[in-house]
């Protein structure tokens, strides 16, 4: 089955009792058992441990990613957290992409560090830097590629090799490209993490997360943490996400095509200092972006001439683009990472990894490309 067929049908079978073509929303806490001896015979006991609607989404995501198991979570952050809890204990060490979502960085430096877990933030674009960071107690690699917000790409295959040698698990945050464009398991990774809030839902309707595992054994470990810590996805969120997934490829293709047009437009604009989009030939890792994924996605950033002040003015003036924190939705969003998504990353660390003050992040939505460009043009005129 091709990806587009899977995104519609995987995980969903018509309801056996009524024939309902969509998975019902099992908004229930508990499940009536036939007898003590038949406990769990129908598969469910309590909706923290499992829920039929949530299970349908987990089955769909497993198939879309080409993995063996999936556990879903209340948010993307709880998916990242569960991954860390599943494979790290006090005294262990993890290697994280030095550019990653600010929430991931905060979780490592300000939360998990309190429990005796050690982190190194390595340059994923340079596998040698990653290899040099390996220690005897390294148990987990987490690679976010393309990275939020700089779009830096990391070589999934190369880092998977390093992780294998170190006897550690390699998790890839695949939120930006989704399995439609990027296939971490085919490149040797063990886990794929998603904020399903982004492209999987796609409509700004839910917050949710997922961890897909390449083997059932790894999946069991993640699921154990899900059930033990309880940061689960609700049936309603799962149902909405199931619907969103059905148009994933169409949205990704259209949003990415718009992103390409916008990146080219900005690159040729007098008032733009620089643009970073993996689909541009000027992108420093254009070759890796082409080799590693079948599409470039719908995230990009640019810097207005005049830096921070000019960028802020543009973000405050622009129409149509919503100044907001989410990404990946059908609504186009504009974000200032330094004051919004990455505010918890220290200034020195931001400077070290290239999150410059004037960086304006765009999440390209599903509006007409012409309208999006017109809005940018008007805002740039005023800049």
């Amino acid at each position: 089955m091709g990806f587009r067929t899977k995104q519609i049908h995987a995980g969903v079978t018509p309801d056996p009792v009524t024939g309902a073509i969509l998975t019902p929303i099992y908004q229930t806490t508990t499940y009536v058992q036939n007898s003590v001896d038949e406990y769990l015979a129908k598969g469910y006991s309590y909706s923290r441990s499992g829920n039929p609607t949530v299970a349908a989404l987990e089955a769909k995501l497993t198939e879309l990613e080409g993995g063996a198991a999936c556990a879903t979570f209340g948010t993307g952050m709880s998916a990242v957290h569960a991954t860390m809890l599943a494979f790290l204990s006090a005294g262990d060490h993890a290697i994280i992409s030095d550019v990653a979502y600010g929430g991931t960085y905060r979780l490592c430096t300000k939360v998990l560090s309190r429990f005796g877990i050690e982190f190194t933030f390595a340059d994923g674009s340079n596998p040698e830097d990653v290899a040099a960071s390996v220690k005897d107690n390294t148990k987990l690699f987490l690679t976010e590629t393309p990275a939020n917000p700089t779009m830096k790409c990391s070589d999934i295959a190369a880092i998977s090799e390093i992780a294998k040698k170190a006897g550690a698990v390699h998790a890839v945050d695949n939120t930006f490209l989704t399995p439609y464009y990027q296939r971490p398991f085919e490149l040797g990774a063990d886990l794929s993490i998603h904020s399903t809030t982004k492209y999987m839902d796609g409509h700004n309707a839910t917050v949710g997360g997922a961890v897909i595992s390449n083997t059932a054994e790894l999946g069991e470990k993640v699921r154990f943490i899900m059930n033990s810590t309880g940061s689960i996805m609700s049936p309603m969120v799962a149902w909405l996400t199931l619907q969103g997934c059905k148009t994933l490829s169409v949205r990704m293709d259209q949003q990415s095509a718009s992103a390409m047009a916008i990146a080219e437009y900005l690159e040729n604009h007098d008032k733009v200092e620089q643009v970073r989009y993996p689909g541009l030939k000027s992108f420093p890792q254009y070759e890796l972006a082409c080799k590693q994924a079948s599409g470039f996605g719908a995230m990009l950033w640019f810097e207005v001439k005049g830096g921070l002040a000019a960028g802020k003015q543009l973000m405050d003036n622009i129409e149509l683009w919503s100044l907001a924190e989410n990404l990946g939705s059908v609504e186009s969003l504009i974000t200032h990472p330094v004051s919004m998504t990455h505010a918890d990353v220290e200034e020195a660390e931001r400077a070290r990894v290239g999150i410059i003050d004037g960086l304006v992040r765009l999440s390209v939505g599903l509006e007409d490309t012409e309208d999006l460009i017109d809005a940018l043009a008007k805002a740039l005129d005023q800049a």
């Binding site: 018509p14 309801d15 056996p16 009792v17 009524t18 024939g19 309902a20 073509i21 969509l22 019902p24 929303i25 099992y26 908004q27 229930t28 806490t29 508990t30 499940y31 009536v32 058992q33 036939n34 129908k42 598969g43 469910y44 039929p52 149902w239």
Partner: protein
């Protein structure tokens, strides 16, 4: 599920069988448009009404079906059909049996939307109505014409709160082979089951006390199963062959659920005023606590009545539980647990004082709904009944200074403190 369980048990269990596939304790929300048929023969038999089953959620839906069966059980009816709103329930119920040239005898004290439907909208399709003072029983008999096909009223009139003498009017209907349909929204089956008094059809805006939380709009039509449609030739939509379904005769095929089946086959299919599965789920949750909420609504109402009756800034108070109310005896007969949680009163100082009162209370929400868990107030003359003319306003028992209060579930001491603020402001504006 036995329909002989008592009220509270039915509120929780009627209509629901535990999910067969996984045992889910709560009713699953079947948020789906369509249903996959096992084979073409089954599909065609569902379409022909030869067997039950789901085809398309405009017509039936498993989640909505649980709500329908639950309400039918609570009301003591044979079947129920849920609709997208209370107004849709009224419209679908009427048009299921009335056609061009037919006539309704209706109470003059009804929700403004119902009056407007019968006075302005249905006449466009050749259906007319005569409105009768709900206290004038002979008036109902006298208003019946050769073409009268329905008697319609609200048990607790809105907003004058006059109680309809169900048995007396049902007897007039029975004498003339005309069904008696009652809007039972204000009483819910917990306070009165109209079928016990000869009523043939009930409708509810389940948006109100049945749902109880102000979260979902919905309506329901309940078939009492107690009207002999075949005893007369007045109701061809029930007793004559129905062409869209291969000439099926609903009365012969479905008997006590023939009326509900007509609504399913015609109103749901052709008008499409269906309830959404999500609303059905929310409303089912509301019904689980119906009796608990109604008891509290009633005790809070009693406290508020005492407070208002003794308040110097209140010129008059009306509630059927008061001996001074013209319907007091009827209320004792039909509503022994209590006559609902709607209270009407006037603020000393008239229209302006009333308006000022509403603008200055905070806890009581100023809005058009009734039957929410939260206390609500409104000025009917300028809102819910603003589309009817002055004459009908008088007939509906509405005065310019009237404030309609829907007593909620808050701590009644907080409500009274809130009202004091409103009364002080009203006193100032009235120059008292």
């Amino acid at each position: 599920m036995s329909n002989f369980y008592l009220f509270d048990t039915l509120s929780l269990h009627a209509g629901q069988t535990v999910d067969k596939e996984f045992g889910a304790r709560a009713t699953p929300i079947y948020q789906t448009t369509s249903y996959v048929f096992p084979d073409t023969d089954t599909a065609s038999s569902i379409f022909n009404l030869e067997r039950g089953g789901h085809a398309y959620s405009r017509i039936t839906n498993p989640t909505v079906g649980v709500l329908e069966q639950r309400i039918a059980a609570l009301e003591g009816g044979t079947a129920a059909v849920c609709t997208a709103s209370g107004m849709a329930a009224t419209f679908c119920a009427i048009t299921a049996i009335l056609s061009q040239g037919d006539h309704i005898v209706a109470s003059s004290q009804m929700y403004g939307g119902n009056i407007s439907l019968m006075k302005n909208t249905l006449p466009r399709f050749g259906i007319t109505a005569t409105f009768v003072d709900p206290n004038d029983i002979d008036g109902f008999r006298d208003a019946i014409q050769d073409n009268t096909r329905l008697i319609y009223g609200e048990l607790i009139g809105n907003p004058g709160l006059d109680i309809l003498d169900l048995e007396a009017i049902a007897a007039i209907g029975a004498d003339n082979h005309i069904p008696f349909m009652v809007d039972a929204t204000f009483n819910t089956p917990y306070l009165c089951r109209p079928f016990d008094f000869g009523v043939n059809i009930t409708i509810h805006s389940v948006t109100k006390w049945m749902g109880g939380h102000g979260t979902a709009i919905g309506g329901v039509i309940v078939d009492g199963g107690n009207f002999d449609w075949g005893a007369t030739d007045k109701y061809p939509t029930i007793t004559e062959p129905y062409a869209p379904f291969q000439g099926i005769n609903l009365w012969e095929e479905f008997g006590p659920t023939a009326f509900a089946t007509r609504i399913r086959a015609e109103a749901m299919r052709d008008f499409g005023a269906s309830m959404s599965p999500m609303n059905a789920f929310l409303l089912l949750q509301g019904i689980e606590t119906l009796s608990l909420r109604m008891d509290k609504h009633l005790s809070n109402t009693a406290s508020m009545l005492e407070f208002l009756i003794n308040h110097k800034q209140v010129s008059w108070v009306s509630h059927p539980s008061m001996p001074s109310h013209s319907s007091h005896e009827l209320a004792k007969k039909y509503l022994p647990k209590g006559a609902g949680s709607i209270v009407s009163f006037g603020v000393v100082g008239g229209r302006e004082a009333g308006k000022t009162f509403i603008e200055n209370v905070e806890l009581a929400s100023h809005l058009a709904n009734v039957g929410d868990a939260k206390t609500l107030i409104i000025h009917p003359a300028t809102t819910t009944h603003s589309r009817i003319d002055a004459e009908a306003l008088v007939a509906a028992g509405i005065t310019e200074d009237m404030i309609r209060l829907s007593v909620g579930l808050e701590d009644v001491r907080d409500l009274q403190a809130d009202f004091e603020v409103g009364f002080r402001a009203a006193k100032k504006i009235a120059g008292l």
